[in-house]
Symmetry: C2
Subunit: 256 residues, 2 copies
């Protein structure tokens, strides 16, 4: 199978650098094809702006009205990442949790590569259908997984931990960035207390990670509710009143 | 009073550009002093990397071990933003919600300006005290507020909306980026359906926003629980078992 690893850490000689090398070797050992977008090494342009549309002539810049994807006037670096996504059967986003989200360079990868017509603004938008998204869309049928390192303790990210539960912190990424254009999203692989990793702990992490990679095609995805299968009122896009009544929040959008 | 507006939109002739101009004029009309960090106009460097420490000599880069803030070897652009934060009595972060979070350029502002020793790694870290953070720290006593625009409908971000409740989407920013180094965080000002804003709707938005600015010093902050006032077990940093028992999630960290 084809796997795209999008990797966002500035230091090759870091825990993340070592984990990245492990992932590539392990996946290739299983016979898969791996492409790596090493965003820092590529000096990826992190900021979405008017220069991303090569045909621009000084008119007001609005990424949602620009349609550079559809007109073939995107920057070449954006088109290349989109081609990698189309090639991939699975996507892995690997990053350190910085201020409770992904590093800016990776956020900017999503903002620029996820063009209008490619990752949003896809399909019919009307009062009865709100586009192909949340389980449908350009990247439907592919799998995605987060690989995250955190300096804090696991308890700090537990259901009653002060930082907030890790599943909720990752929801805007797993649901809002991965499920949105169609990915089936696997449970994340998260390593905690990363400033205290010795050889033995690194070996255990690689063992657990290797198992997750072995199981990439059989692990059950997080059962996010599809938008267009009847669970939501359209166009309000609220969960129907008879489903999980009186509940609210992110967990509501996980069915079964 | 002194107000720092950190603004992240690439197009001056946008709704965000117009709102920014309104905010500056309104605050100055109230007699306040306003500094604006217009990140796109400043061509703010969005990516945190080894070049941010000017004294670096080819050793392995770890932002949490680098201590460029303490040794005075930070990039000048970072030091300038820290000085603005120290000058300010209130901080406003203004941005369009892109993929359910802040634009990369603003995330990169936080990553670079929030240096070790300035915004984290402050105060005693031991098994009985986990630093001055979540209500304490360098920026304690100052106020902060988000000003956010979203293309989607308000219902899509409601408690049962498909995108997730706006308060939960903003929690990693309001709690994790603003409250963490000490800010008192005011409820956010959020505008929805921003592609459908006509003159009348813009006027109503400015009226509501003007009221929020008038009330900047009297609006009650979101009552996030302080870390070090007895609500949490340390070092696990989980909410004590007798507080809101059997509950979990972001809302748990809002008291009263």
């Amino acid at each position: 199978m084809n796997i795209l690893l999008v990797y966002a850490h500035p230091e090759p000689q870091s825990l993340n650098g070592s984990l990245k090398n492990f992932v590539i070797k392990h996946l290739e050992g299983l016979g898969h094809f791996v492409q790596v977008s090493d965003l820092y090494a590529m000096q990826w342009k992190a900021t979405l702006d008017a220069s991303d549309c090569m045909a621009r002539q000084g008119i007001r810049f609005d990424p949602a009205l620009d349609h550079a994807f559809e007109s073939g006037t995107q920057s070449a670096d954006i088109a290349l990442e989109q081609a990698k996504l189309l090639w991939a059967d699975a996507l892995i986003l690997q990053f350190p949790l910085w201020w409770f989200s992904m590093p800016a360079i990776l956020k900017g990868w999503a903002e620029r590569v996820y063009a209008y017509g490619f990752a949003y603004g896809v399909g019919e938008h009307s009062d009865v259908r709100w586009g192909d998204r949340y389980g449908e869309g350009t990247l439907a049928g592919k799998r995605a997984m987060l690989m995250v390192t955190a300096g804090g303790w696991e308890s700090h990210y537990s259901p009653r931990g002060i930082n907030g539960p890790i599943d909720d912190l990752l929801f805007p990424i797993q649901h809002g960035i991965l499920h949105y254009p169609g990915f089936d999203v696997l449970p994340p692989f998260v390593l905690y207390q990363t400033s205290r990793i010795d050889e033995a702990k690194f070996a255990r992490a690689c063992e657990a990670l290797g198992q997750r990679l072995d199981d990439l095609w059989i692990t059950a995805p997080i059962p996010f509710r599809p938008q267009n299968a009847g669970d939501y009122d359209i166009p309000a896009l609220t969960l129907k009143a008879d489903i999980a009544p009186d509940q609210q929040g992110f967990a509501l959008h996980i069915g079964r």
